[in-house]
Assembly symmetry: C2
Homo-oligomer: 393 residues x 2
């Protein structure tokens, strides 16, 4: 269904306001700086920039990444506790390759990241859906279900910070509870953490991995996709040495190594302090866009019982539209000139038919308003609403 919708989206030639994808705004991608950095590094390194690299990642990037991660650590990240991956997606895939066998129970948030679900399903994991509320995964409910079924999860997949698609952040108390449960059950926690550096308000919550201090096995997946650019396909995984060693072995047989020129470029970008500069620019930009989108939602959908989340960072708002089938709405909205992802794409059991995900990060505030106005018009068209299309329009 989403496949055909995506293809429909690609076919649309008229002006569509795209609130669907989870990419940084094109205007938030440091294209000119990246081009300069790539040019400099390729000139300096010469032909060695094009050879096979170490499967665990280029040393310059490993050093730069360790320096970045060490800012949040009391002790230096050991060399055998991380590897570079071909984007965060590869980190998810390698973790499933290591830990998910056919029939293993895998606990997932509901809603959760579509491709994360697809990867777990490709390894034939048995999905156990755990609801999400404003404090992230309802870990208490996971505990209850497992206590009833007596079949603990082999893997617990969570996006604890600015969750995709809900935008919520797992509270500190729940992180501690999750660690206790994983330790008790012998489960591995897969902490998918692509948005962490994009906090634009509120206080940092430590990663589950840092809180676990080895009490539970936690694999944490990071990426430069959301903070620099997704097309680079450069990410990383941190975990205990034995897991990292097995992951490097697995990566060897999957893609040999991550592309070398762009690893070198990311290393240079970090070393020159450009990521810090960039984050200083994009964080307030994304913050104002979040508020812009929320205002637009209040103005255009407030009278119809719609509700939405209030994330402290990341890219997404999760919007509930009681009584509206968002899968049906999708094509109507596309004709009205706005794209979103229907809620059911984030569910293993085709739930959330009355919800949708909006990305606020990649669109300016004026266009966000216009997008929501179009969304309202589409809802009115779909539901045969005869009221004025938008209360304030």
């Amino acid at each position: 269904m989403i496949d055909s919708s995506t293809s429909l989206l690609q076919q649309q030639t008229h002006d569509v306001i795209r609130l669907a994808m989870g990419s940084p705004a094109h205007d938030a991608i440091p294209a000119a700086l990246l081009r300069q950095v790539v040019g400099e590094v390729l000139e300096r390194v010469g032909s060695a920039a094009y050879d096979y690299g170490p499967t665990e990642g280029e040393q310059s990037l490993r050093d730069a990444l360790a320096a970045l991660l060490n800012r949040d650590r009391s002790t230096a990240l050991p060399d055998n506790e991380f590897l570079i991956t071909s984007g965060g997606m590869q980190g998810l895939d390698l973790t499933c390759k290591l830990f998910v066998e056919a029939g293993d129970v895998v606990a997932v948030e509901s809603p959760t990241y579509t491709n994360g679900l697809a990867t777990i399903t490709s390894y034939e994991g048995d999905l156990l859906e755990v609801p999400v509320d404003r404090d992230g995964m309802v870990v208490e409910q996971l505990a209850e279900v497992v206590a009833r079924n007596r079949r603990p999860p082999r893997l617990i997949y969570t996006i604890p910070t600015f969750q995709n698609p809900s935008g919520t952040t797992l509270s500190l108390d729940r992180r501690m509870l999750l660690i206790d449960l994983a330790a008790q059950w012998g489960s591995v926690i897969l902490e998918d953490d692509p948005y962490r550096l994009l906090r634009f308000e509120g206080r940092d919550v430590p990663t589950i991995q840092s809180l676990a201090r080895g009490r539970a096995r936690v694999v944490t997946v990071g990426t430069f996709s959301k903070v620099i650019a997704p097309g680079l396909r450069v990410g990383w995984v941190t975990g205990e040495p034995e897991i990292v060693r097995r992951m490097i072995d697995a990566k060897q047989g999957v893609d040999t190594c991550t592309n070398v020129p762009l690893q070198l470029a990311v290393a240079e970008y970090l070393c020159e302090g450009l990521l810090d500069d960039h984050l200083q620019i994009v964080r307030p930009c994304y913050r104002s866009r979040k508020y812009g989108l929320q205002e637009a939602l209040s103005a255009h959908l407030g009278d119809m019982g719609a509700t939405w989340t209030d994330p402290d960072g990341g890219f997404f708002l999760w919007v509930s539209l009681p009584g509206v089938d968002t899968l049906e709405l999708f094509e109507v909205a596309l004709r009205a000139g706005v794209a979103f992802i229907p809620g059911s794409a984030f569910s293993a059991s085709a739930g959330f038919r009355d919800a949708l995900r909006l990305c606020f990060a990649s669109t300016g505030v004026d266009r966000l308003h216009e997008g929501v106005r179009r969304l309202r018009r589409a809802i009115a068209d779909l539901c045969g609403d005869t009221r004025p299309h938008s209360p304030k329009s």
Copy 2:
């Protein structure tokens, strides 16, 4: 064993002549042109060069690749019969992901590519080793074994052209026989074809896929690693539409897409005709290096019963050294200043203890001679030979 050897190789600080790796020579990598092409394309495309791309590959690269492959085809390659991958390795991995389940018989050449074996093993395929002679895989023997065991292979993994590690090319007759057998058994043929464009003498033999004309299912894996540069991690797969579609779905959950900037750069490189220019330069260069290495082997190892292959292209010679344990030789040779890959690395059953692989492509002729001289010295040291180290030294 190879792991610890690789690490030993990395620790060596003195001058080592590296005949081990299967990379193009650094002097055969068009680094300056690549840098220029990357710079041009990043300037032209701007921020879109850094966004997520289509999982099946960037359109510009797809067009350029189709034009390249169409030179050998009577009809144009249909759009739904190929995808771009993150290097050839990902093509092998995706094929195994689709077709190898635990306990499935997978026929492999013996010797064969180390990482190919590792990937098949990671999907728990049951390896059936088929010997290789000067005309490639001894397909007649595969037929006999399967006739006896009545358990046909699910997948047949072959590197038919300038095989790694042996350098041999599967004859036309055997290609036809292999297709017949695969059709009869319902087996999928995985045609790993990284060296095809590096023919420097003899006449082209068509790909198994083109010969099969749909009679058997053939997945053909290609890559720019050997003809441009491996660090780019850009390759491709051709196959029937249903296989390609499933492979694109699988790739979505594995790494989302191949890195975009270097896909665009390879497209530009092809469109500007730079690959043709480059092949004109490297083919005669590799040819003279092959003859250089063979002369050195005659001069320094000819008196001890050593034999070697005579490939018409590619990177490798396969050398047999009767009575010499090449795994033991490895460390002695490294101390003597020359690196190779011991034969057993290419065997699923630790065979070929008296063989080794030498890469002639990445080293100039003088250094090839010196490398073989050092190899002879290492053999003498290992075997306690009291004769002069090298008959002509």
